[in-house]
Symmetry: C2
Subunit: 308 residues, 2 copies
C-alpha cells in the first residue's frame, strides 16, 4: 500500500517510523508541517520535517528532538558571544540546517533543499515540506503575538491561547509533490500530531482540503489522544483554544468532512473506527499502530461500493 | 595618533595587532578587504575581516587562520553527509559567521553585521569591511575562472595567473565609516598584505583613491616583502601576474601616486623610506614594526611645509 502521511514532529513522526517498517521506504511519503519553521541563528530551521527525518533515520535524540549524541560547540560559542540561544541546535542538527539554508540561498525550493537533508540522513522515504512558500504559525496569548517557536521554546507556552494564525497561508500552496503523493496514495493518514498547530497548517493550505476530498484513498486519522489525555502538554493548550475535546470523539469535528475513519484507543460513534493501543513508545509499538492503521484503511477500501 | 590601516588577513592583521598595542583600541581602525568573502555552507564568510578580528582578540589559531582550540563537529557532519567541505570552518569560527549571516538576513549592512562579530570577539578597535556591497575577487588561471577561495583553497592556487577581476567593484563604494576613518586619521597605513588580491580590491573601490589623496595624513606602506621574498606563497603568484617585483622597490609602482613613504627591510629610492626588520613572527615584533611605522609617519608629517 502506498501511504501519504500528514504529520507534525512527534506523534506523527513515530507513526512514520512504524509505517516505514511495514510498507518500506518506496511506499511512504510524509507531508510535514512547516508552520513551525523559523530563521534562527542565520539558518532555516524546519523542526517538523527534520524530526520526521531523524525519526526515520533512527538517529533521533532520546528527548525526541535533535540528533542522538549531538554536540553543542556552536551554540556554546554563540552563548559566549552574548547571542540569544533560547533555541539550541546541536552541531549535527545545525549542519542539516546549513545544507537546507545553502540550497535555499542558491534558489532551490524548500522541497529540494529538504530532500538534500533527507538524503544526508540516509533516508530513502520521501519527507516533503507541505509547501515551498513560507507559512509561519503565530500564537497570541496574554496580549502578545509571537512566532510559534518563540512562544513554545523561549516563552514556554504561557496559556491560555487567544489566537492562532498561519501567517502567509493565503499565498502558499501545497507542493506538486505533496499533491501527487496524496492523489497516488492507497491510504492517506492524518498522524497523531497536534490538530491545531501541526495538522492545522497543512489542512489550511489553499487546495489541500480539495486534494484530500478528491483522493481515491480513504483518509484515516490516528488519534493523538492516549488514555483520554494528550501526551505532549502544549497540545492540550491549543485544543482548548480551538474547542477540541481531548478525546477521539472530537476528531470528526477537528477535521470536519475529511475523515473516512479513526484509529483510537477509545470507542467512537458516527464514523468507522478501529480501537487499538495507540501508545508508540517503542519501535515495536510504532510498527503495531502502523499495521492496525493500514489494515483498517484496507477494510474501508474493501467496503466501498466501487471497490468490487 | 589615529591610525587607519588598509589590510588583508595575514601580514596586515599582524601589523594591526602591533598597532593595537601601541595606540590602543580607540585610535585604531582597520579597513579590511572583502574581496575574499564567500557564501559557503549557507553562511557569509569574511576571511580577512575575521582574521584581523581574531588577531586583535588574540584568539587566532597557530596556523594563522581560524580560532585557537576550535572544534570541527559541524564540518565533520557535513562531510559525513557527503557535502563538499574543501573550505573547513571550525565550530566557533562558524558561530561568528552565523552571527554575521543572521544580521545580513535581517537587512543589516555588512559593516554592522561584522561589528557584531567584532563585539562578540571582545575587540574594541574598529574592524570595517571595505564596502557593504559585494565585491568578489575572481582568478583566471589555466583557462578557468574561479572565485578566490575556490582557486586558493579548493584548487590550491594553480598558477600562472592570467587575470584577476574584482567582480562587483564598479557598483561598490567604500563605507561611510571607512571614508571617515581615512579622513580623520593621523596616518594611513597600507598593511603588508598581498598588493593584488588583498590591498588591490580596497584601492579599486570607486572613490577610495580619491579619499586617500584627499587625506591630510601621510600614506605609508609597510612592505610585504621580507628578505626579498614573500612570506606567503600565493603573493608571489599574484605579484608575478601583476608585474610587481618581490621587493620594496616595486611598491611605488604597485600603489602609483598613493604613497608618501615606505617601511621596508631593504633600501629604496625615489620615496621617503624607513628601513626596519619587518618580520612580525611575535607580538613583540608586531609592536616594534608598528612603532617604527608610526614614528616614520610622524617624521613625514613634521617635514611637511604646512605642518609648522
Amino acid at each position: 500500500m502506498r501511504v501519504a502521511l500528514l504529520s507534525g514532529g512527534s506523534g506523527g513522526a513515530k507513526l512514520a517510523r512504524g509505517l516505514l517498517e511495514v510498507v518500506g521506504p518506496d511506499r511512504l511519503t510524509v507531508v510535514a508541517n512547516t508552520g513551525d519553521d523559523a530563521e534562527l541563528h542565520g539558518v532555516h530551521v524546519s523542526p517538523d520535517p527534520d524530526l520526521v527525518t531523524y525519526r526515520l533515520a533512527d538517529t533521533i535524540d532520546e528527548r525526541g528532538y535533535g540528533i542522538r549524541g549531538d554536540t553543542w560547540e556552536v551554540m556554546d560559542a554563540l552563548e559566549a558571544a552574548g547571542r540569544p540561544v533560547w533555541f539550541r541546535l546541536g552541531d549535527r542538527d545545525l549542519a542539516m540546517c546549513l545544507i537546507r539554508t545553502e540550497l535555499l540561498a542558491a534558489g532551490e525550493r524548500l522541497t529540494d533543499a529538504h530532500a538534500a537533508v533527507v538524503r544526508a540522513a540516509g533516508v530513502s522515504a520521501r519527507v516533503l515540506p507541505m509547501s515551498d512558500a513560507p507559512v509561519r504559525t503565530h500564537v497570541t496569548a496574554r496580549g502578545r503575538t509571537l512566532p510559534f517557536q518563540e512562544f513554545m521554546v523561549a516563552e514556554r507556552a504561557p496559556g491560555p491561547v487567544d489566537r492562532v494564525e498561519y501567517t502567509g497561508i493565503d499565498q502558499a500552496r501545497p507542493t506538486p509533490e505533496a499533491l501527487l503523493a496524496i492523489a497516488a496514495a492507497d491510504v492517506v493518514v492524518i498522524g497523531p500530531s497536534n490538530p491545531v498547530v501541526s495538522i492545522g497548517p497543512i489542512l489550511a493550505l489553499p487546495g489541500m482540503r480539495e486534494a484530500l476530498a478528491r483522493a481515491r484513498a480513504p483518509v484515516v486519522a490516528v488519534s493523538p489522544f492516549v488514555g483520554g489525555r494528550v501526551l505532549k502538554g502544549p497540545t492540550a493548550l491549543f485544543c482548548e483554544h480551538a474547542g477540541i475535546p481531548l478525546e477521539a470523539a472530537g476528531l470528526p469535528d477537528a477535521y470536519p468532512g475529511l475523515l473516512d475513519g479513526v484509529v483510537a484507543d477509545e470507542p467512537l460513534s458516527g464514523l468507522p473506527a478501529r480501537m487499538a493501543d495507540t501508545l508508540m513508545s517503542s519501535l515495536e509499538r510504532q510498527r503495531r499502530v502502523a499495521t492496525v492503521t493500514l489494515d483498517f484503511a484496507a477494510s474501508l477500501t474493501a467496503a466501498r461500493p466501487d471497490s468490487a
